[in-house]
């Protein structure tokens, strides 16, 4: 399993990373410069529910911390079960529910 930093990103103000295995893409993620939702991930549908999302997110979290980011805040839609679960499993603190979204804070 590899996480590879892309030379370019298709999303503004972000760095893109690919999650691959045997040269096959499993998913990708982005680290943004913004304060809320600084990390986004996407796992190919048939590869979901195997822990890849959490793996990729954790790696990107570490990259963000290593680059000096602190107090990462995420607003996740209530129905986004997978992302809410990833954050909860990493020990994030739920601090509020507003506009049909959970707000999480992940400490360093």
């Amino acid at each position: 399993m590899q996480i590879v930093k892309c030379k370019e990103s298709d999303k503004e103000n972000s760095i893109k990373y690919l999650l691959t295995q045997d040269n096959k893409e499993i998913g990708h993620g982005y680290i943004f410069a913004r304060e809320i939702n600084p990390i986004e991930i996407y796992i190919i549908e048939e590869m979901r529910s195997n822990g890849y999302g959490k793996l990729l997110f954790t790696k990107l979290l570490q990259i963000a911390y290593d680059s000096g980011r602190v107090n990462l805040v995420f607003d996740i839609e209530l129905q986004n079960y997978r992302m809410n679960n990833i954050l909860s499993s990493l020990g994030a603190q739920h601090i509020g529910t507003n506009d049909e979204k959970n707000r999480w804070v992940i400490p360093v």
């Binding site: 048939e46 809410n84 603190q93 509020g96 707000r103």
Partner: protein, 293 residues
């Protein structure tokens, strides 16, 4: 229903049609239990170590799994399928245990990796947060099978059964004062056509809850950080200000408040909050008179 689940039911003599007929198979999401809380929740403790019975775990967020809340045994096919994906095949071994064995076999997993549970309302009402859906389905099936075998008036037997199926969990515990206060304040802002404030629990430098609520408006420099006493006073002041606002017609106030009053009737915990903290709302409800202007 797939073959894996069919075989599980057959092997354990779980009378699926009888359970269906008894209406015992419904699954509830947090919104089904109490939608006010689900949409406005503030916790006072996110990872409290405690023990909860399977009997009191009412369900999970079935919609986000692409499922319905009609029948949790039917839903088991989403979680257990020997011919399915990794997620569906990885916990098949749980289905091998008999009713006599299941609790002892799964108990160690609860210490190692507790189920994550969310308090959905007062009175012992919980839903699964993350982690624990496979165990929940299997244990609930066995629990219901044993409960169905008890006679209806066997309270002692039921309590013993509940205790038998009680496990270590990690609980997100609700702060009802902050949750309902934020609901009321959002509603008032909405009634008055104002921008809706943002409510969040304050954290200390160790990322623990301080017990205070942060209220952030469109003017961040006017952010409020209130303890519960200050928060209740703030809610009462805003509510009374709204009721006494002569620029709002009594007809509009009546319409606005009718939803809050309907929720007062529907949810015991909300009624408790209002009785304690919003006597003016209760008075209006009793008199059905919102005309002060």
């Amino acid at each position: 229903m797939n073959k894996t689940v069919e075989e599980f039911l057959e092997k354990n003599n779980i009378d699926y049609p009888a359970l269906q007929q008894e209406g015992r198979l419904k699954v509830k999401s947090a919104s089904d239990v109490n939608y006010i809380i689900a949409r406005n929740r503030i916790f006072k403790n996110s990872y409290k170590k405690t023990r909860i019975s399977i009997a009191d775990i009412l369900g999970y967020e079935y919609k986000s799994q692409g499922l319905t809340g009609q029948d949790f045994i039917y839903n088991m096919s989403n979680f257990f399928d020997i011919e399915g994906s990794g997620y569906q095949a990885r916990s098949i071994s749980m289905l091998e245990y008999s009713t006599d064995e299941i609790v002892d076999k799964l108990k160690p997993s609860f210490s190692r990796e507790p189920m994550k549970i969310i308090e959905a309302d007062k009175g012992g009402k919980y839903v699964i947060g993350d982690n624990g859906l496979h165990r929940y389905h299997v244990l609930k099936a066995h629990f219901l099978k044993e409960m169905f075998a008890l006679s209806l008036d066997d309270k002692e037997g039921y309590n013993a059964l509940k205790e038998k199926y009680t496990f270590d969990v990690s609980l997100s515990e609700l702060d009802f004062t902050k949750t309902y206060s934020s609901y009321i304040l959002k509603k008032i802002a909405n009634f008055k056509g104002e921008s809706i404030p943002y409510f969040s629990a304050e954290l200390d430098q160790d990322y623990n809850y301080t017990g205070k609520l942060k209220i952030t408006t469109s003017e961040p420099e006017n952010e409020l950080v209130l303890n519960d006493e200050q928060l209740i006073k703030f809610v009462q002041d805003r509510f009374n200000e709204y009721i006494n606002d002569k620029s709002i017609s009594s007809h509009k106030k009546q319409d606005d408040l009718s939803l809050i009053m309907a929720n007062y009737e529907m949810f015991d915990s909300f009624r408790e909050y209002c009785d304690k903290n919003l006597p003016e709302l209760v008075r209006l409800k009793d008199k059905e008179d919102v005309c002060r202007s």
